[in-house]
Structure formats: C-alpha cells, structure tokens
C-alpha cells in the first residue's frame, strides 16, 4: 500500500481551480518532488497534505486512512517552510524541542533527543542562540532538525532552498539527499526549480494549471517528456513544428516544417495527419564546419547567429537555411576549444535520428 495516496483531489478558489482532479501515490521512503511554474497548484496541494487547506472534493489517504479533514496537529506530517518559520522568541533548543513537547515526551527524553538532533545538523554550539542570530543556512538546518525530530511519516518542504545563495544551495542539496537516506523518512519537496528537482528527487510530478502533466524519474522526465509543456519547462530544448505523414508498425514518417522528412520509431496512439513538435535537446545537436557536409548524413546547412560562452559550455544559436533557429550546446572540455565558430560562420548541424522525439498535440 502506498504511504500517501491522493484520489481525485479538487480545490477551487472562487472561479479559479488551483488543483484540478489530481491523483497520485507516494511510496514509503521516497524523495518525491512536485515541480511546476508558480501558480500551478503545487503549493495548494502541499497545504492540503499538511492540513492547512481542505480539498473541495477527493480523498487524501495516509496509510489508507482518509485524513482530508484531520487538523494539522493530528497528522504525523511535518513541514519545512520556505521562510523556515522558526519561532523568533524561542532559542534553537526550544524550537527543535517544540514538537516533542507538544506530544508530551518526558523532559529528560526531550533533552536527549534535542541534543542528538542538533548534533546531527552540526548546530550543537548554537543551542542557546535565537533565530535572528543565525545565518540563512543555519536557520535552514534548525528547520530541518525541528521537522524531523518527532519522526513524522512524511516531511513536506515548500521551496526550502529558495532563500539560499547558489553555492550554499548546492551544498544543502547534497546534505538533503544524505539526510533523507539516513533518516529514511518520506520527503515531498515542492519547487519551481527544475535543476533542484532533477538533482534531488527519485520521482518528479510536473504540474501545470492544477494538473499533473507527467510523473516519472528525473531521467524519464528529462529524456522522454510527455508533451510540449514538459519538454519546454524542463531544461532547454529545440522544438520544431512537425506533422505525421505516414505511420506503420515499424516506422513513423514526419514532415518537419522547412526541414523535410524524418523517420522515427512508431509511437502508440498516433495517426497519420497528427500535428506536434519534434523535440531535440541542445546537447544532442552536433555542429560542424561546412566543409564536412559530405561526411555527415541528415545534415542541415545554416550559419551561426549568436553564441553564449559560459565557461564549461558554449551555446550556439544557428539559423538554418529555412529560417528555423536551433540551439546547440557544445562542451568546452579540451583546451583551445572554447570557440569553434564565430558569428556568421557557415556551418552544418545534425543530430542522431533516435535523439529526436515527436510530441503530439492533444486538443
């Protein structure tokens, strides 16, 4: 049985449907992420799981029990808030001990567990400090220690790394993965950052306009996006309008606008005449000097329009003869290769046939 199961959960605010008939199930021990742009309903969903909000209809099952109407203090679910929400009038020790006091654990036991929890997050020296005397990263650790100390079945996190600077965020991401492995508690993480979601999660649910668009492992979401929205939202991708001209049991022929035909393996539930996009990740696109045209099959000619050098990689924007623009990401891994091409250089681009994916438009 799933640890947490949502069945047809709907939440409306006036005319606006924040969560539109969402169903999903999360297994014990998972690191699960709700990912989506702001306003997609991920925070509303999290608030209903925590108990701060009640669904208009649908069920929220924890170990098979419907908890949709249970107040937050009666749920074995704790939350780490974006703002950390530490109690400003209590010391670090009192903040961390709060959940134990609320469940009436004996004072001696509270002290022991509080000290152990603070040791685990390397904050033993800060026991008697107040939240305003801590740095962002330290507050963050206190919030995690407080959320985990009473061993909840589920720990919810609402963009907990959003307020940290980039360097610290990466460190905290690593710590978070280790922490989850150590404590073995199921984590549900909410973020709008696809990098964070890909780095942290075992499974990701991508949300848009109150719906879950796709659930899968980070590599499945990145590698085989289910539709145009996900392809566009997760990472960078080249999207080219295309139409299916022919489909058989072994092959699917597509007409790409301005680029001619291409043949891909067939996909289910697709018919001749279907419209959609061909999606190719920039790192799959190869760029060569025009002179090599004879050696490369399925190549398209064009010229360099612009490029962006960011150190480890360079992104080239190439305009094909048909007017279509394609981005290519080239690694600068060997010395002297930072600049392969200059603006206006004539080039040819190609990609492995199997790297292209056809994403059909569903009305």
């Amino acid at each position: 049985m799933a640890l947490l199961e949502l069945r047809n959960v709907i939440r409306r605010f006036g005319d606006f449907t924040a969560v539109d008939n969402v169903s999903l199930s999360i297994q014990a021990g998972e690191f699960f992420t709700l990912l989506g742009p702001s306003g997609c309903g991920k925070t509303t969903l999290l608030r209903m799981i925590a108990g701060f909000d009640v669904p208009d209809s649908g069920q929220i099952l924890l170990d098979g029990q419907d908890i949709a109407n249970t107040p937050p203090e009666k749920r074995p679910i704790h939350t780490v808030f974006q703002s950390y929400a530490l109690f400003p009038h209590m010391t670090v020790a009192d903040n961390v001990a709060f959940p134990l006091k609320m469940s009436k654990v004996a004072p001696a036991e509270i002290k022991k567990r509080m000290e152990k929890a603070l040791e685990e997050v390397q904050l033993s020296r800060f026991t008697h400090r107040f939240p305003h005397e801590l740095s962002g990263g330290q507050k963050q650790r206190v919030a995690f220690a407080r959320g985990l100390i009473n061993r909840p079945r589920l720990l919810l996190m609402d963009e907990p790394l959003g307020a940290l600077d980039a360097k610290l965020r990466e460190d905290m991401q690593r710590e978070l993965i280790n922490l989850q492995k150590e404590v073995g508690i199921t984590f549900i993480f909410v973020t709008h950052s696809q990098d964070e979601a890909l780095a942290l999660s075992q499974r990701i649910a991508v949300m848009n306009l109150g719906n879950i668009e796709q659930i899968g492992t980070p590599s499945a979401i990145y590698g085989t996006p289910a539709n145009r929205f996900i392809a566009d939202f997760i990472g960078k991708i080249n999207l080219m309008e295309a139409r299916v001209t022919q489909i058989s049991n072994t092959a699917m022929t597509l007409e790409i606008n301005g680029l001619g035909t291409t043949v891909l393996p067939p996909k289910k539930e697709i018919q001749a005449g279907d419209q959609g996009v061909i999606a190719i990740r920039p790192e799959q696109v190869a760029v060569h000097a025009l002179a090599k045209q004879a050696e490369i099959p399925h190549a398209h000619t064009g010229k360099v329009l612009d490029f962006l050098y960011v150190g480890d990689v360079t992104t080239y924007v190439i305009e094909l003869d048909s007017g279509i623009q394609i981005e290519a990401l080239l690694a600068n891994s060997s010395p002297g290769r930072a600049r392969f091409f200059e603006v206006d250089d004539p080039v040819i681009v190609s990609w492995p046939q199997e790297a292209a994916q056809f994403l059909v438009d569903r009305p």
Partner: protein, 261 residues
C-alpha cells in the same frame, strides 16, 4: 542646503517650544510659594502637601484609577481579540468598525453613550457606565496596535506551530500571545493614559456623585487657578509621560529588533 537645514531646525524648535511651554509653566508654578500664578516667589512643596490632604481630590484620583485600570484591562482583552480577528479574517469592514470610534468626535460618542445607557440599558450613571464608555473608545487603539504587530510577522509561524503538533489553543498560548505581548502591553498602557485623562466622554457618562479627576480639576479652576491644580496636573503629566514612554519603547523597540533578523 545649510540654509534649509537651519530653517527646518528653527521651525522644529518653535513647534516644540509651542508644545511644551504651557506644560513647563504648570510644572514650575506647582513649586511656587505663592497663591497667585503671577510671579516666582520661592520654592515650596506646600501645594503637594495640601493636595494629599484634600479628601475630595484623593477620592477623584482613586475613582479615576479604578476606571482607568478596569477600562484598559477590558479594552486590552477585547482589542487583542479584535486585532487577531481583523488580521485573520481580512474582511474589509472589520477594521473600519473597530477603528471608527477613534476618529469619531468625542462629543458624539459621549452623547450616544449617554443615550444608550439611559434609554436602552436603563443604567444608573456612575463608575460602571464610565468604565464601559472608556472601554469603547480604547478597544480600537488596542486593535490597531495588535494588528500592526501581526502584520509585521510571518504567518507561517502560526501554521508551523499547528503543523508540529500544537492545538489552536496551544498555538495561541505558546506562540501568538508571546509574540504579540509587546503590542498588547503597549495597547494597555495607551488605553490607561487615554482613559485617565478623558474629559468629554467622562463628563457625559458620569452622572452625579462620584468625583472624577479631570472633571474635579476643571471644577477647581472654575473658581480659581490655584497652585494645587498645578501640582495635581504635574503629577498627572508625569504618570502619563512615563506610561507613553514605556508603551513606545515596548512596541517600536521590539518591532525594530524583528526587522533586523
């Protein structure tokens, strides 16, 4: 640039002189060894001595203290609840209803309260009616102060408390109340100062009988401005000033501390 600074400084000084000169005169003359408020004769504490032997005045002071303590206590409880409700429910008309009595002319409030006590409640005017009247206009002040403090706080703190196992009552007792306490105390002190020197509303709702301090002072100067009035006024001023300073320290001081974090 320098010129503007000087002008500003001068203007500000004039405003402060204008504000405080009358008060300073009262304080100075309360120590003047003369029945007349005309010229400085010599230092004396006589007027304070006389004041503390004036039974009528002491009774008025006692009554005023009873009223101020009761009214500020009631107003603090009601005003804190109002402040919390205004913050939580975000219904536009709620803050308006709580704050309107502050802006309303006192004389209007006095008349309407008088009519309410006499015609609706059928109450005999006295200390009780004054306490109710003072509570009415103090509630709004407490509500404003408490609400302002809540607005400066992160609401997820209260959700975090519930999330970590606190019942609504525990959340209020352990989190909300300690965090708004400076505002609650500031509101109480504010109410006390407003109540103890209120004249207009007290005048309308006191009926006959019990002497009340501000009205007692007024009655005394109708006959003659004696230095005894200066003495009571000075003591009065001192009390009010101390309370206002404490209230100000409590509220703004802690709010600033919060912003730093």
């Amino acid at each position: 640039m320098k010129h503007t600074n000087l002008t500003l400084w001068l203007a500000a000084s004039l405003v402060y002189i204008f504000l405080y000169i009358p008060l300073v005169i009262v304080v100075v003359y309360s120590f003047n060894d003369s029945r007349l408020n005309a010229e400085w004769v010599g230092f004396t504490l006589d007027w304070y001595y006389k004041l503390f032997n004036n039974q009528e005045m002491l009774l008025a002071a006692r009554n005023s203290l009873i009223i101020a303590v009761s009214a500020s206590l009631l107003a603090t409880i009601l005003g804190t609840m109002a402040g919390l409700a205004i913050h939580r429910y975000r219904i536009k008309v709620l803050p308006f209803l709580a704050f309107a009595p502050i802006a309303m002319p006192e004389i209007l409030l006095g008349v309407s309260l008088l009519l309410f006590f006499l015609q609706v409640l059928n109450l005999t005017l006295g200390l009780v009616s004054i306490i109710i009247a003072h509570t009415t206009f103090c509630v709004g002040f407490v509500a404003i102060i408490v609400r302002a403090r809540l607005q400066g706080m992160d609401d997820s703190i209260f959700e975090a408390a519930r999330d970590l196992g606190a019942t609504p009552w525990q959340t209020f007792r352990l989190i909300t109340l300690p965090l708004i306490m400076p505002a609650v105390i500031a509101g109480a002190l504010m109410s006390f100062t407003l109540s103890i020197d209120d004249f207009v509303i007290t005048f309308f709702t006191k009926g006959i009988g019990e002497p009340i301090l501000p009205i007692q002072i007024y009655t005394m100067i109708k006959i003659a401005v004696t230095p005894e009035v200066n003495a009571i006024s000075t003591l009065f001023m001192l009390l009010t000033l101390v309370l206002i300073i404490i209230a100000n320290r409590l509220d703004s001081g802690i709010l600033q501390g919060e912003k730093k974090s």
